[in-house]
């Protein structure tokens, strides 16, 4: 009886510790993700604004160059070089627009991870609560029933969580995606 009492106490402590420490670590992970999302949001706002300003300045500059070319006697190879450079700028602008869409995807991935963390915290909370309800004086067969119940609760919660977390972002690079017309 003494041995059974000891193992019941140990199992209660184990489940309680798992819930408590697990929740603490998840809270830290959640805080870091919120901070990451804030930084990414601010970064994209700055990048977007700078991109617009740079593009506006380049367009203006190209107009001035075109006007200057029309008025001045500029060697043909210089005109060709300027036009080629203009084409290169266009390619970089397109590439930057594709790259600047990263935050839409990172935001979705972070939100999904946050929901998973919240769900996992609920699972741990349940494990802790179920553990607290185990009487200290429990015989081995009753203990087995209680542990099976906890395992089943955990499995069910995990399944519910997985169903709620549809993965909407599968991209692993920033190349432009497929296009299909129906």
């Amino acid at each position: 009886m003494m041995e059974e009492k000891t193992s019941a106490r140990q199992i209660k402590d184990l489940l309680s510790g798992l819930a408590e420490h697990g929740s603490q670590h998840l809270a830290e992970a959640e805080t870091d993700l919120i901070q990451t999302n804030i930084l990414l949001r601010e970064a994209i706002a700055k990048l977007g604004a700078s991109f617009m300003a740079i593009h506006g300045a380049i367009v203006l500059q190209q107009q001035m160059v075109e006007e200057a070319l029309a008025c001045a006697a500029v060697p043909a190879d210089a005109v060709e070089a300027l036009r080629a450079q203009s084409g290169q700028i266009g390619l970089h602008v397109n590439s930057a627009i594709t790259g600047l869409q990263f935050q839409d995807m990172t935001n979705q991935l972070i939100s999904r991870t946050m929901r998973r963390i919240a769900g996992l915290r609920d699972v741990l909370l349940l494990v802790g609560e179920e553990g607290d309800m185990i009487p200290v004086e429990t015989d081995a067969s009753h203990m087995q029933v209680l542990l099976d119940k906890i395992t089943e609760t955990m499995r069910a919660q995990s399944t519910v969580l997985e169903k709620e977390l549809w993965k909407a972002v599968c991209q692993t690079h920033m190349e432009s995606g497929d296009i299909e017309l129906f």
Binding site: T98, D104, Q108, G177, L181, F182
Partner: protein, 121 residues
């Protein structure tokens, strides 16, 4: 006057890039922050094309398409999905809802304008 496009996306940075690309190609673009906002704006004005994201708060893209297709004024207006979603399952749902095309993010502005031009000229 250029053709009109309604761009629906809950991501401000994404909308900024869509608007920039399509305005540069000569289109008049109106922004909506989610499906419900898109539906409200579509009821105020009939656009030549609707470009919508899928996962948004309040109303998602598929629900928006179904709601638009229920309006007599939007039965023939082209609707394109622009989303991170790329599964065949989602594409089939989009097609069934009434979408005319599916573009997976991130988009290349040149390819986007080519598709839009192909669809509405």
């Amino acid at each position: 006057m250029g053709k009109t496009i309604l761009a629906v996306d809950d991501s401000g940075s994404l909308r900024q890039m869509v608007v920039f690309s399509l305005r540069a190609a000569g289109y008049q673009v109106t922004e909506a922050v989610d499906g419900q906002d898109g539906l409200d704006k579509a009821k105020e004005q009939v656009f030549d094309l609707v470009l919508t994201d899928q996962n948004m708060p309040r109303m998602d893209g598929l629900s928006l398409i179904r709601a638009l297709r229920a309006l007599p004024t939007y039965q023939k207006v082209p609707i394109l999905m622009l989303t991170t979603e790329s599964s065949d399952e989602m594409k089939a749902k989009g097609r069934a809802a009434g979408a005319n095309g599916w573009l997976v993010k991130p988009f290349d502005p040149q390819r986007l304008t080519e598709v839009v031009r192909k669809v509405i000229g």
